[in-house]
């Protein structure tokens, strides 16, 4: 799928060196460490972390560490999913939250809860993954039929499509008196993350590695079917691999954490603006940046109304919305859209 808008050429100052990555990892590690000291259980503060007593360790192991891991993995995977999607479609305004992927996953959870309520989280997740793949496939089909392929029209169609899926979900949920559940799935929050409730998230690590291995080929298939085929790539198969990687990441995060708006859109865009757009090099940075962004949002959410919490989706929605508007206006000013 080619579009008239190519991603902006990489600024020459870009380029990722190993040193940058290590700095990123270090910053994230310090931030993560500090975040372990925040929580409603005031008996565990930053000072108690080294070394924790047995009761302090219990709080850390059952609540704080799972939460930190979930934050990092959710942020990293949604950002990477956005990056891969933007490469596959060669369009900067495509991401799981502007292509119906997230909404389709929510619909999947609703269906799973309605028909197989007693089953485990894993079954719900599988159903959500399937609906996410189907939903994203329909979006890609629509993209091919659309008259205008500019980034902004595509983003609009994607948002509307997500809106229609959300309306169907609400419609069904309303009939079954399940609107309150919907609220939980559509608002990303880490407050319910405890040991034993987040482990499925580790799937995204495996999928992320697959995404990394295929990173360069995703860029090539973004240049169009004939171009990719000429280079000897199996366009269809690669497209489906990308689709599955993205859908699994989005669906797993939605099932465990809930939806985090605009994350997959703004993080890859900002990283690409700063670092250039060599996917293989940018992908690890995107993962780190996404993890860092969600960590910052989560910490802010826990501090603003301490000891109460503001869900991460709310904070990310405000910041993400502002950044998204800035990106739109920026692209409108620069490129002839």
């Amino acid at each position: 799928m080619t579009t008239t808008t190519r991603p902006a050429p990489a600024p020459s100052r870009g380029g990722v060196r190993a040193v940058h990555l290590w700095i990123g990892v270090a910053v994230l590690a310090v931030g993560g460490y500090l975040s372990l000291g925040i929580g409603a259980a005031t008996s565990v503060g930053i000072g108690d972390l080294f070394p924790p007593t047995q009761s302090e360790w219990h709080i850390l192991a059952t609540s704080r560490i799972p939460r930190l891991m979930a934050v990092l993995m959710a942020g990293a995977s949604l950002s990477v999913a956005g990056l891969i999607m933007q490469r596959i479609t060669a369009n900067r305004f495509v991401s799981p939250s502007t292509s119906g992927t997230v909404e389709a996953a929510v619909l999947g959870i609703l269906i799973a809860t309605m028909f197989f309520n007693s089953t485990s989280l894993v079954v719900k997740m599988l159903i959500a993954i399937i609906t996410a793949i189907l939903g994203t496939m329909i979006f890609l089909q629509m993209l091919q039929r659309i008259q205008h392929r500019e980034g902004i029209v595509v983003a609009l169609v994607g948002l509307m499509y997500g809106g229609v899926l959300a309306a169907i979900t609400t419609f069904v949920a309303y009939q079954r008196d399940m609107v309150q559940y919907l609220d939980i799935w559509t608002t990303g929050s880490f407050s319910g993350i405890l040991e034993g409730r987040y482990e499925p998230l580790y799937t995204v690590l495996v999928v992320g590695v697959i995404g990394y291995l295929f990173a360069d080929r995703f860029t090539v298939i973004g240049m169009g079917e004939s171009f990719a085929t000429n280079l000897g790539l199996n366009y269809k198969r690669l497209l489906y691999i990308g689709l599955i990687v993205v859908s699994v990441m989005a669906a797993v995060v939605v099932v465990v954490v809930g939806a985090i708006p605009f994350l997959g859109l703004i993080v890859p865009n900002v990283v690409t603006l700063l670092m250039g757009d060599n996917v293989k090099k940018v992908l690890p940075v995107t993962a780190l940046a996404g993890a860092g962004f969600v960590l910052a949002c989560d910490v802010a959410g826990r501090m603003i109304t301490y000891p109460y919490e503001i869900p991460v989706a709310t904070i990310a929605g405000v910041i993400g919305g502002v950044v998204f508007i800035w990106l739109i206006l920026r692209s409108a000013k620069g490129a002839a859209v």
């Binding site: 809106g163 419609f171 919305g321 409108a332």
Partner: protein, 337 residues
């Protein structure tokens, strides 16, 4: 859309074809008016059980607010499309009613809920509308000035503003004191199921004033529809008409949002339907038609949802579902947006 200015009826050279067209418009408007009357009557008397007095009072208020909303949305969307020069733009799609809600939040946030509630419904409404008018004018001056040739940018920004507002409301709900937030919710979503009689009176009168203010603008809008260059060449005070129309649109949007909250696609469906069934470019007829279609959609829609489906869903979900699909089709089919 090629536009032929039809000869005015006072000049008597009407061809038979033209006469037929005029009759068709009159008949269509007549049928719409009859359908509206039937719809309203049906809504009032269908399946009344128990006290008639109680039913009439409650249903009268409901139908009153539906009529006000339908008329306000129909008129404002149609003239907004004309001044924006696009068939896919409506005030809601541009985030105008999200803006109204944002203004409410800001007022409650800074002045507190108690001070806000002490004011009467009328005063509150006037303050809201004035603040919204100023805000809206500034925003649209800025946006139209910057991207006057790229309306899609405006649409996308509007939609993101809408979603951004959702996050801000959620943030406010957690930062504001519970009392202040309750106040805010009351003013934001006076659900039409239990419309306050005072608010309905104020809204109805303001809506009438807004519609009346539109009347002298209508014939200028016929010319504005031809685009800036043509309109100025024909001697129309383009900027004055656009500014005045925007002011009226702001007031009408405030009326409908205050009554039932945002309905993203209602105006889009209504205005486009009116343009499709009325073969004319005259705004006197188009606006009248759009008002009637609007009333028919709200009253008819709520009749189906409330009485026939036994409140199995909400009107806004149905509107989002139908409108979203319609909007995607418009985006995909239309060559010139």
């Amino acid at each position: 859309m090629t536009t032929l200015i039809s000869p005015s009826p006072t000049r008597s050279h009407t061809s038979p074809e033209e006469a037929r067209r005029r009759r068709r418009i009159r008949v269509t408007l007549g049928i719409l008016a009859i359908l509206c009357a039937v719809g309203i009557a049906a809504y009032l008397v269908y399946d009344v059980r128990g006290s008639w007095e109680y039913a009439m009072d409650l249903r009268g208020r409901q139908v009153g607010s539906l009529v006000v909303v339908g008329a306000a949305v129909g008129a404002s969307s149609l003239v907004f499309q004309t001044i924006a020069g696009s068939r896919i733009l409506t005030p809601s799609v541009m985030g105008f009613d999200a803006l109204y809600l944002l203004v409410q939040t800001i007022i409650v946030f800074f002045f507190g809920g108690t001070a806000f509630m002490l004011m009467g419904v009328g005063e509150r409404f006037v303050i809201n509308t004035v603040v919204l008018a100023v805000f809206g004018m500034l925003l649209f001056r800025w946006l139209f000035g910057r991207n006057s040739r790229n309306l899609l940018v405006l649409v996308l920004v509007g939609i993101v503003i809408g979603s951004l507002f959702g996050s801000l409301t959620s943030l406010a709900s957690r930062v504001l004191s519970p009392n202040d937030f309750l106040t805010l919710q009351d003013v934001m979503f006076a659900s039409f199921n239990t419309v306050d009689a005072n608010l309905l009176w104020v809204a109805g009168i303001v809506c009438l004033i807004g519609l009346a203010a539109l009347v002298p603008l209508l014939r200028y809008l016929d010319v504005v529809d031809l685009g800036f260059d043509n309109a100025v060449a024909l001697g129309a005070p383009y900027h004055r008409v656009v500014t005045a129309t925007l002011a009226v649109v702001t007031v009408l949007v405030a009326v409908s949002t205050a009554l039932v909250g945002p309905m993203l696609f209602l105006g889009l469906i209504v205005a486009n339907l009116a343009r499709q069934i009325l073969p004319t470019h005259r705004h006197t007829e188009l606006v009248l038609g759009s008002v009637l279609v609007g009333v028919l959609c709200t009253v008819g829609g709520q009749f189906v949802v409330g009485h026939l489906m036994d409140n199995g869903t909400t009107l806004s979900v149905v509107v989002n579902l139908v409108g979203g699909i319609y909007f995607i089709l418009l985006l995909m089919r239309t060559v010139k947006l």
